[in-house]
């Protein structure tokens, strides 16, 4: 017996069912995969980052000194020249300035 092929809307309903039935990935699995990412992080990069952190720390000291010197400059004027925050951050990723944004540096900033 020949069967009538499914209509376009019936096939679409079947697709929608599969999508709605799709289970969600557990947070534990996501954490496990993230752990895997850390395990495979390139070692050479870790050394480079350590170097950047050193350069960044020196930069932080210099920035603090400059900050004291120009302390009276209104923040509004600084805002006018501030670049896009994400762009600036990520452009710095390969230059070493990123090191001042690392967790250690953040703590350093918070501690004054």
């Amino acid at each position: 017996m020949a069967h009538e092929s499914l209509s376009d809307s019936e096939v679409k309903r079947a697709f929608a069912t599969v999508v709605s039935e799709t289970p969600e990935l557990s947070p534990e699995a996501v954490a496990r995969f993230a752990q895997g990412a850390r395990q495979h992080q390139p070692r050479s990069s870790a050394r480079e980052v350590a170097g950047w952190r050193f350069v960044g720390s020196a930069g932080l000291v210099a920035a603090t000194a400059v900050g004291f010197w120009i302390g009276a400059v209104p923040l509004a004027s600084v805002e006018l020249i501030a670049p896009d925050e994400n762009e600036a951050f990520w452009q710095s990723a390969n230059s070493g300035v990123v090191s001042v944004l690392s967790e250690g540096a953040e703590q350093e900033i918070e501690n004054g």
């Binding site: 092929s5 599969v18 799709t22 969600e24 996501v30 995969f33 990412a37 920035a63 501030a82 990520w90």
Partner: protein
């Protein structure tokens, strides 16, 4: 560099959700731990959904995601701007890994539609005749029975919602070829599912 600007930048670290995948991958290579975690949070659920829809098994899908992400981390140092988008690259890897698994499983008897468990709480009222689990399993079986490239094309178009140009990029073919694969695959599905019309809740 003012403290204000440092704080602004520091704030941007906490809003990685707005950073493009490619930049996050560069951050991963540069040793940014948060970048890998954000990228995983962003990509893994999508890859898992794609794998599950092609394989129908959570454990198999998790294995595929793990392998796909592992390949991404390994490829990361060689990644350069201007290549295919990371999400596109990952779709391709996941699809290939799923096809590999489907090939391997074809040697084994697949689960019959009758093996799909009955729903614990059957329908609500007259409209409850719809059996989502059976419909889903039937479609996945029919998808897996299609020629491989049609399986991938149809899955990417109708389950993952990719556009034809995106599918063409994933499958390394022209947009016209992708369109043809999707159309032929969909026709094949409609015919393969026809004998199961009643099981699918579509009536005779």
């Amino acid at each position: 560099m003012s403290l204000w600007r440092l704080k602004k930048r520091r704030g941007s670290v906490r809003s990685l959700a707005t950073v493009p995948d490619e930049i996050l991958l560069e951050g991963y290579v540069a040793g940014q731990r948060g970048a890998a975690e954000e990228l995983t949070r962003r990509l893994a659920p999508r890859a898992f959904a794609q794998a599950w829809r092609m394989l129908g098994s959570e454990s198999d899908a998790e294995d595929v995601v793990q392998e796909a992400l592992l390949r991404l981390w390994r490829a990361a140092p060689d990644w350069s701007a201007g290549q295919a988008q990371i999400s596109t690259w990952l779709y391709r890897v996941v699809a290939n890994l799923c096809i590999d698994r489907q090939r391997a499983s074809r040697a084994r008897p697949s689960a019959a539609l009758d093996d799909v468990p009955e729903p614990v709480a059957p329908g609500q009222g007259a409209d409850g005749a719809l059996d989502a689990a059976r419909r889903s399993a039937a479609l996945q079986q029919a998808l897996a029975a299609l020629p491989e490239r049609q399986t991938i094309a149809v899955s990417l178009r109708h389950l993952e919602g990719l556009t034809l140009p995106e599918i063409a990029e994933v499958m390394e073919c022209s947009v016209e070829a992708a369109e043809s694969l999707v159309a032929r695959g969909k026709r094949g599905l409609a015919q393969a599912l026809a004998p199961r019309r009643e099981e699918l809740g579509y009536g005779s």
